[in-house]
């Protein structure tokens, strides 16, 4: 595999009241979609916030590859997009304006826009931004929703806009925090397939020798969703053999599962047969409450990749 796009190195995090995460250590290859599973309250969102730079680790560091260099994450930035379950869209902006917002904020400043009104450079740039946003919304099947405000859209449409809003920044890593949790089953599957389209674009880019454009970390509590959408599934749990490792109290949740998941095409049916065995394994390891699980036993993704000479977007390994 080429240099990982994201490295989480021995990251631990705790609040004043209790430890949350312990020695989280993993690497993500460019173009992967990683499903992150875990029980409610185990620290999945905290992990995303640490990667986004919204919270800071007590120990360890998060590195993101940016312009060919590994940069330590210290604060939120346009290289790490985030999408929340509650959409996080701005109610005072239309879909088009919401999607174009990132370009405006990252490419200009308030004084530059004020001067640009006078010199007419800002209206010109603004038109370019809106055109770019429009193209993305059309690609996401939202041609009819451009001028609508978030409250005028359905939940599925809002989440598409939110994903477009993050993707327009061309982030190195897109962090999705239970993005489909509030949606009905049909809309959920529709959006899952939209992510599979993005993965297909990644595969095509790798085949053509280009850099895969979309690296996604998808936090979810639905095992089926993680397996269906991700090319890799990780499980976070507070139930592991911490006593055997000499801790008197649980030092926090850690990664107890990290394996490849079957790769689906956007048009493939949801074939339960293909992931029923993995689902049972995840249920046992991540949600089973077994205090004798050794975190290393089920974290075999990279050895799987190397023994198979690559997998999905990592097949150049």
């Amino acid at each position: 595999m080429t240099t990982p796009i994201l490295s989480v190195q021995e990251v631990s995090y705790r609040t004043a009241a209790q430890p949350i995460l312990h020695a989280i250590d993993f690497k993500v290859g460019r173009g992967q979609i990683v499903g992150i599973l875990g029980a409610s309250g185990c620290g999945k969102t905290t992990l995303l916030n640490l990667i986004a730079g919204i919270t800071h680790p007590v120990k360890g560091q998060v590195l993101v590859q940016y312009d060919g260099e590994e940069v330590m994450v210290e604060e939120p930035g346009p290289d790490r997009g985030i999408v929340y379950q509650a959409y996080g869209l701005y109610p005072f902006l239309t879909s088009l304006e919401n999607v174009a917002l990132g370009l405006k904020l990252s490419q200009t400043t308030i004084p530059r826009r004020m001067i640009g009104y006078v010199t007419r450079s800002w209206p010109h740039l603004r038109r370019i931004h809106l055109r770019t946003a429009e193209e993305l919304l059309v690609r996401f099947g939202l041609s009819d929703a451009m001028d609508k405000y978030p409250h005028e859209l359905s939940g599925g449409m809002r989440q598409r806009v939110a994903i477009a809003q993050a993707l327009i920044m061309r982030p190195q890593v897109l962090l999705l925090d239970e993005p489909f949790g509030a949606l009905d089953e049909a809309t959920r599957e529709d959006l899952q397939r939209m992510l599979l389209v993005l993965y297909e674009e990644n595969l095509k880019a790798v085949e053509e020798g280009r850099l895969a454009p979309h690296t996604i970390l998808l936090v979810t509590h639905a095992i089926q969703e993680a397996i269906f959408v991700g090319d890799r599934v990780m499980g976070l749990s507070r139930q592991w053999n911490w006593k055997e490792q000499g801790f008197s109290h649980c030092p926090g949740a850690t990664i107890v599962y990290d394996k490849a998941a079957p790769i689906f095409k956007p048009t493939d049916p949801v074939d339960f047969e293909r992931f029923v065995a993995q689902k049972d394994e995840i249920t046992h390891v991540v949600f089973g409450g077994d205090l004798h699980i050794d975190p290393k036993t089920h974290c075999t993704f990279w050895s799987q990749v190397h023994s198979n000479h690559g997998y999905g977007v990592t097949r150049d390994a």
Partner: protein, 282 residues
Amino acid sequence: MTKKPFSSFRQAAGIRTPISRKAVWMIGASSVLILLFLYTLLSIHQHQINATDTTIPTWKQMGEGIAKAFAAQPRTGDRWIIEDVLATLSRLGVGLGMGVGIALLLGLSMGVWRWVEAFFLPPLSLLAKIPPTAMMAVFFTLFGTELKMYSAIIAFGVIPTLAQTIYLGLKDIAPERIDKARTLGASTSEIIFCIMFPQILPKLLDVIRLQIGPAMVFLIAAEVLVGDVGFGYRIRLQSRLLNMNVVYPYLAYLALFGFAMDTFMRWIQRKLCPWYVKGGAA
């Protein structure tokens, strides 16, 4: 006899059943006409008792009162209505402008920075409990009886409510929206002015609209007490002379002004916050 089908018990009982827009207008207009009719009856009755009565003037006397306010005064050539409108409106404008400006600065700072919140919240909460009219003596002493005093009393009256509304509005903004703005490349000033402020703007406009009423109360009360021109002054003076044919039209002008301001603020809100008017939540 067949019973008319109702879609719900509420509809059958007539509770909050919608009526047509035309019916709303007609019922509203008839209530005003009934009021005017009752006033006319009362005035006729009073003038049957005392033909020279000015406490409940006839419509003819009312016309004379209106003409008097618009006419040039023989000695000075000034017209009361112009003098009073200019004085009251300039005091209200300066006071409300100052109040909104300071409240905006305070509310925004309190909503953004915790240390500003910790510093200003206790005094603001305390001052909000003191009725501004009770503070008039303090304002007369500190600022005299000129424009400064009227502006200060209006500003003092509206700042606590406005500042707290802005501050609470900002506190209500979901942290994810702020975090997301940072991932979209927003600077601190952009988060304040491009993300937070537009979101509370419709509520701010609503509160400003609602604060025009109290601001007028503080101003008229101050003018009644120490004014030498303005609506409050004229109402006090003319009521002492029992010239109610001048006082009642002045009250009607105040009502019309309030109505016009309300309509204007709603128009501003429609123009600046179309999303809110369409039903979006701030």
